[in-house]
Amino acid sequence: MSPLEKRAWLTLWSQCPPYLVYFLIQAAWPDWLTTFQQRIACLAVVAGVHAIAYVTGLLWMKRQEQGEPLLLDERDRAIDGCATRTAYFVMLTGMIVVGVVMPFSDSGWKITNTALLAIVLAETVRYALIVAGYRRTPRLAH
């Protein structure tokens, strides 16, 4: 498996579960967390779980690679570029919703959570497309 694909899998596995739980809690029980401190604490726990899972996975991966540097060739860059371009449009759409539409209809944590959702979604799309790219590489990706 390519080093980039390994990192993509690591990002997906470390990022998706904690944020999925976070957004499910926000959607199912919006009144469960009432104060600012509670909401920030919840977000901090989710971000912490993500960070710990990612760093642990990265250290394990580095150990497996025995200090070899992450070398990307033209195929890796083509797959990464294609995925990043698509994720950029996801992020752009999210930011338009958050910055242009929502200020006139919503406020507070709803805007914050939507912005966070856009970022997580863009990252997820990017890394999911990288993983998919190694399975169905466009024959002329460059």
Binding site: S2, E74, R75, R139, H142
Partner: protein
Amino acid sequence: MPTESLSNEVRLLRFLAQDMTQAELGRRVGLTRQTIAAIEQGRYSPSLEVAFRIADVFGKRLDEVFHWNPGDGGDASAVPTP
């Protein structure tokens, strides 16, 4: 729908070059082992520069290593008229 494909002799040439490994070929042309495997399996078409480098490693011309098989969409020998 046109069904073009690019085939290559990289696997055979590696075998003839004292069974050169994919990693070794990758190192010499600046690709990862996984990309060499993808090229051999026809899952990835390298850039022209890399294709020339691969041919150079085996001391062959480009058209001895890579073959373009035009499908319904064109004729490889066709030359556009001015």
